[in-house]
Subunit: 224 residues, 2 copies
């Protein structure tokens, strides 16, 4: 059975031939916060049929965008992870995700709508200029609208993981809309300016640095 294609010699068309089908890009997004098991994916992607998920990961693996890895014992389990090509794709999704974020500013979270902090945090984290974090090592616990995720900064490497950190340096408690607005701010606000909308527990110096990393980001004003 041949794969459906737009049959156009065009970068966008070819991208969509590969990853334009339903759910595919959300699987990629899911793997941006670290390797995941099949059931992790099924759990996060509410509404996807298990059969369709299996077909998607198989296709993504064949296309070299994700890889299936066996976890070291005694985990006795396997995980899916992004390949370098998959990470490049993930980076290319950032502007599209931010565009969606800007356009949903006006309307709050809908009742019954699924939500995980890492879904947004993985994209906001890519805005941090890695070269601005050399020598820095910090574990930042976020709680966005009550959903927990961790931003880890380790000397130029920035990662996001779901859930709770063991010993976070600071804890940031805020809402998604506030956080997103921060990345578009341009100049970093002071802690007191945002104290009403962002509650931060822990080292104030690190907190202020975080505000600067997010607001004076790599893209400057390049994105809408």
């Amino acid at each position: 059975m041949a794969r459906r294609s737009y049959n156009q010699y065009c970068g966008l068309s070819r991208s969509l031939d590969l990853v334009g089908e339903r759910w595919t890009l959300l699987i990629v997004r899911e793997l941006m916060s670290g390797p995941k098991r099949y059931s992790d994916l099924a759990d996060a992607l509410d509404g996807i049929g298990t059969s369709l998920l299996a077909a998607r990961v198989k296709q993504l693996e064949q296309d070299g965008l994700i890889a299936r890895r066996q976890l070291p014992r005694p985990a006795a389990s396997q995980v899916y992870d992004l390949t370098p090509a998959g990470r490049e794709l993930a980076a290319a999704l950032v502007p599209l995700a931010l565009w969606g974020l800007r356009h949903e500013f006006d309307e709050p979270r809908r009742p019954g709508e699924n939500y995980r902090a890492e879904w947004t945090l993985v994209f906001l984290a890519t805005l941090i200029d890695p070269s601005a974090t050399t020598g820095l090592r910090a574990t930042i616990q976020f709680r966005l609208d009550d959903s927990p995720a961790v931003l880890s900064i380790d000397d130029g490497e920035v990662h996001v993981t779901p859930g709770e950190a063991d010993h976070p340096d600071i804890v940031v408690n805020t809402g998604l809309r506030t956080l997103a607005a921060l990345t578009a701010a341009g100049s970093p606000p002071s802690l007191t300016e945002v104290s009403e909308r962002i509650r931060i527990e822990g080292d104030p110096a690190l907190a202020q640095l975080l505000l600067e990393l997010l607001s004076r980001n790599r893209f400057g004003g390049l994105l809408g």
Copy 2:
């Protein structure tokens, strides 16, 4: 009939709820090279059903991403055009299009595959730093793998249109892969270096400037 939604409070999911269905983003791409009539779209998007195209443009219009405009008389016709929100979306597609471009480098154009120069040129044109073109006014006729499109630079404004220009300042004859590689080059090559792969007729100074605009672009090495 309710619209299908991923039901996730996430920028990427919301984007895909809006424009993730088949053909939708290609309609947006098509309008990046100027307003188009319904039949222009149907002609460019080979394989789309006329019924589906009508449904897509209607939905895009309802979502405020495109607008239907009546052409001044005696055209007696209507065109679709991007709204400001639609243009922001188009800008957000650039990295995805470039990602596809990079990953199709290895394989040439497939036999029977549709191709239009403006499909690629609209994305490459966004790489040009507008502030680097202040005071510049130039009409550049491209012929990429024999398909014609025009790049117009007018004092900070950069536009791409399909087809032939009336009085181009220079004519650039090259292939898509060469042109794409140029944007990833970093430092601009000299005219003699690329003379084998890019044939340029007209003012050499303008030609050299064009090479510089495309290679030292806005994103630097930010994109893979």
